[in-house]
């Protein structure tokens, strides 16, 4: 049982991709790599579950520790707890789905799949790292492919979006690095400064240092997960990105930030406590304001991107509330939002492939011509608006229950406002759904294409498989959340 396999497998896949010839080979290799990875992750999950009842109460399992760079005491130290394995599972699922959805990508397919695999590699490495430097390293590994994916395969103002996204995320990781370096130099451990999470947690960071460096690390990670004033890369980036990149971006990449914020809040509890008011204000603004901004969007991808801002606000709200339940809710929300938004983007991508428009006003009644895709769209929408039985509800209600445990009146007010967003969410989701899926059939973008005999076909096998995979995840959490909450606990 080795966690390094999680990194080695994508690496091997990436190398194999470089040796491939022709896009048919490339996609098969990429898919099989992702599927093997998914199987391995499931196996890992099984192994993890076997450890717990066996009385293994250690916080971190499957540790591996290698000295990487001795003079700075940087280690390759990996290990997982329940939160990490939940995120890894999410990554594996979204990766397989993303590769399936990009099945027909012919343009520079080798580079495309290479970058996708690289992005997933960065995410895996990030989630299993226990060394802050390795963590940061993998965070950076995950940033660069996004820039290229959007810049090269994107649509619309792709270079602008790619630039914006890369610059903001780079700025975020610069802040993260300042925070991490601050922790590194100010932790009194026996053998000098260390990046090791466990040792730092054991040694404890003094309150002054926490309060100085927590904002850096938190805002830095926060930018990745659409913290309020730094969220503007989300709509532009997502809307310009190709379908799979949107899925990866929202499904995996934004979760890097949430996971990082959570780790920082757990590592520096004193500072998290003193800054929690600010975090909650920003998170509440993101939730409400993101939701209202979504109502006015006319492009399907913008709708989902803004709703991501709103939904990721729940992650930050859960973290900022600092109660155990709320934090669990934050993790649930990360997993749930990852699956849901990936599904949503996949559905939008499928619609766009056929109709060549994403404007709500130009679409209508698609249930008639592509029932499968429309159903996927409806399921994603219902999950987004927090329908019980799908994962969104479980996550949101957990966040609310946890948030309500803070007795302060202002925290309560923030919680109520956050609750109110479920109504706004319902409004924008139903507006989009009512127009695009229901109503009279209308496809303006391809009026001419239709006349030329193009048929608006329903989903192909690869798209069906991708959607079904994600829906299984959503329903598995929504119908039986206990397995996931037990895992996270």
């Amino acid at each position: 049982m080795s966690l390094s396999v999680l990194i080695i497998l994508p690496l091997l896949t990436a190398i194999a991709l470089l040796l491939c010839n022709g896009f048919r080979q490339v996609r098969v290799v990429a898919l099989s790599g992702a599927v093997v990875q998914l199987i391995y992750v499931l196996w890992l999950l099984g192994a993890y579950w076997q450890q717990r009842p066996a009385g293994n109460a250690a916080a971190i399992l499957f540790e591996e520790d290698l000295t990487w760079f001795a003079s700075l005491n940087i280690h390759y130290h990996v290990g997982i707890d329940g939160i990490a394995i939940a995120m890894i599972l999410l990554t594996a699922l979204v990766t397989v789905a993303g590769i399936l959805v990009s099945w027909p990508v012919e343009k520079l397919s080798k580079e495309f799949f290479f970058l996708l695999v690289l992005l997933s590699l960065g995410a895996y490495g990030f989630f299993i790292s226990l060394d802050l430097f390795t963590l940061f390293f993998f965070l950076e590994v995950a940033v660069i492919p996004k820039f290229l994916l959007i810049g090269i395969w994107g649509s619309g103002r792709s270079s602008y979006s790619a630039m914006k996204l890369a610059l903001l995320l780079m700025g975020g990781s610069a802040l993260v690095f300042v925070g991490l370096a601050g922790i590194y130099f100010n932790t009194p451990t026996a053998n000098g400064p260390t990046f090791d999470l466990l040792q730092i947690a054991q040694a404890g960071i003094s309150t002054d240092v926490q309060e100085l460096f927590f904002p850096f690390a938190f805002i830095g990670f926060g930018i990745f997960t659409a913290l309020f004033p730094f969220h503007t890369w989300v709509p532009d980036g997502h809307s310009s990105a190709p379908t799979a990149a949107s899925m990866f971006l929202a499904g995996i990449s934004m979760k890097l930030g949430g996971y990082g914020c959570l780790r920082m809040a757990l590592l520096m509890p004193a500072a998290a406590q003193s800054y929690s008011g600010i975090i909650i204000v920003l998170a509440t603004i993101a939730i409400i304001y993101g939701a209202f901004a979504t109502m006015m969007q006319t492009d399907l991808k913008y709708i989902n991107a803004y709703s991501s801002v709103s939904h990721c606000g729940f992650v930050l709200l859960g973290i900022g509330m600092l109660t155990k339940t709320a934090m669990m809710g934050a993790v649930l929300q990360m997993v749930s939002h990852g699956l849901m938004t990936a599904l949503f983007f996949a559905a939008i991508g499928m619609l766009y492939d056929r109709t060549h428009t994403r404007q709500v006003a130009q679409l209508g009644g698609l249930l008639k011509v592509m029932p499968f895709i429309a159903t996927v769209f409806v399921i994603a929408g219902l999950c987004s608006l927090g329908l019980p039985g799908l994962s969104g509800f479980v996550a949101e209600v957990t966040v609310f229950m946890g948030a309500w445990q803070r007795e302060d009146a202002w925290y309560r007010l923030a919680t109520i406002l956050a609750c109110a967003s479920i109504v706004v969410t319902a409004v924008y989701i139903l507006r989009a759904m009512g127009k695009v899926i229901m109503g009279p059939l209308l496809v303006e973008g391809t009026g001419s294409l239709l006349q030329q005999g193009h048929v608006l076909s329903d989903a192909r096998w690869n798209e069906k498989l991708a959607a079904v995979l994600l829906i299984i995840g959503i329903v598995a959490i929504g119908v039986a959340p206990f397995w996931l909450t037990e895992l996270i606990n």
Binding site: F23, W103, P104, V105, E106, K107, L108, E111, L148, G151, I152, W153, G154, S155, G156, S158, S159, A162, M163, Y352, D353, H356, R460
Partner: protein, 212 residues
């Protein structure tokens, strides 16, 4: 002041005078000739300092090699007799002032420091054999490693010269004037070698449609 001293000042005056002429002469060919004299003067300075081997190398390499190379390149590139455009007066004045200032600054430093020359304790003799032995010596004060490095450098320079000077423009390709775009997305073109037009979404999706 003995004859040796006078000789030194004479040589110095010669070196500096010809150097000034070399950098101010109107015609490029003359400039090269003045440079030649100046370099010969430097060689004379080495003789005066009793390092005959260096002086000999100076004459062989500089006078016999570099200057000849320069003259060749003059012949290759333009009419040797034509006058070069004079630099604008403002520029000339500015640099004369700047150079004088720099010289004064250096002069001051050198004069202040003084280099306590108690006179040579030991006469400075440079036998060629000593140079040769030390050059190829592998022991502590040997220079064999720099020697080898320099020989590699010379080889590299030789090949490099040939490659640079011989590179001819391949047929069918015009030299692209590389216009760098600020903040633009040059990467996509470099990476892909695909015309930018094909990145429009419609074509991509049409391609995807065809693929299935």
């Amino acid at each position: 002041m003995n004859a040796s001293d006078i000789l030194f000042y004479l040589i110095s005056a010669f070196v500096l005078g010809t150097a000034v002429l070399a950098v101010t002469a109107n015609k490029i060919f003359r400039s090269a000739i003045w440079l030649l004299f100046s370099l010969v003067g430097v060689a004379a300075l080495y003789f005066w300092m009793q390092v005959e081997f260096v002086a000999a190398v100076q004459i062989i390499v500089y006078v016999g090699g570099v200057v000849v190379l320069i003259i060749f390149s003059i012949f290759l590139t333009q009419q040797s007799g034509s006058k070069m455009p004079k630099p604008p007066l403002k520029r000339t004045l500015f640099f004369i002032l700047a150079v004088l200032l720099g010289f004064a600054f250096s002069y001051k430093i050198i004069a202040e420091y003084g280099f306590a020359s108690a006179g040579p304790v030991k006469p400075f003799v440079v036998p060629v054999s000593a140079i040769g032995e030390q050059m190829l010596d592998t022991k502590q004060h040997g220079f064999v490693l720099p020697f080898e490095v320099v020989s590699m450098l010379l080889l590299a320079a030789m090949i490099g010269c040939i490659v640079i000077a011989m590179r001819s423009v391949p047929k069918g390709k015009t030299i692209q004037k590389h216009t760098a775009t600020v903040g633009g997305f040059g990467t996509s073109n470099n990476l892909t070698d695909v015309p930018a037009a094909s990145t429009t979404p419609d074509e991509v999706s049409i391609m995807e449609e065809k693929a299935t």
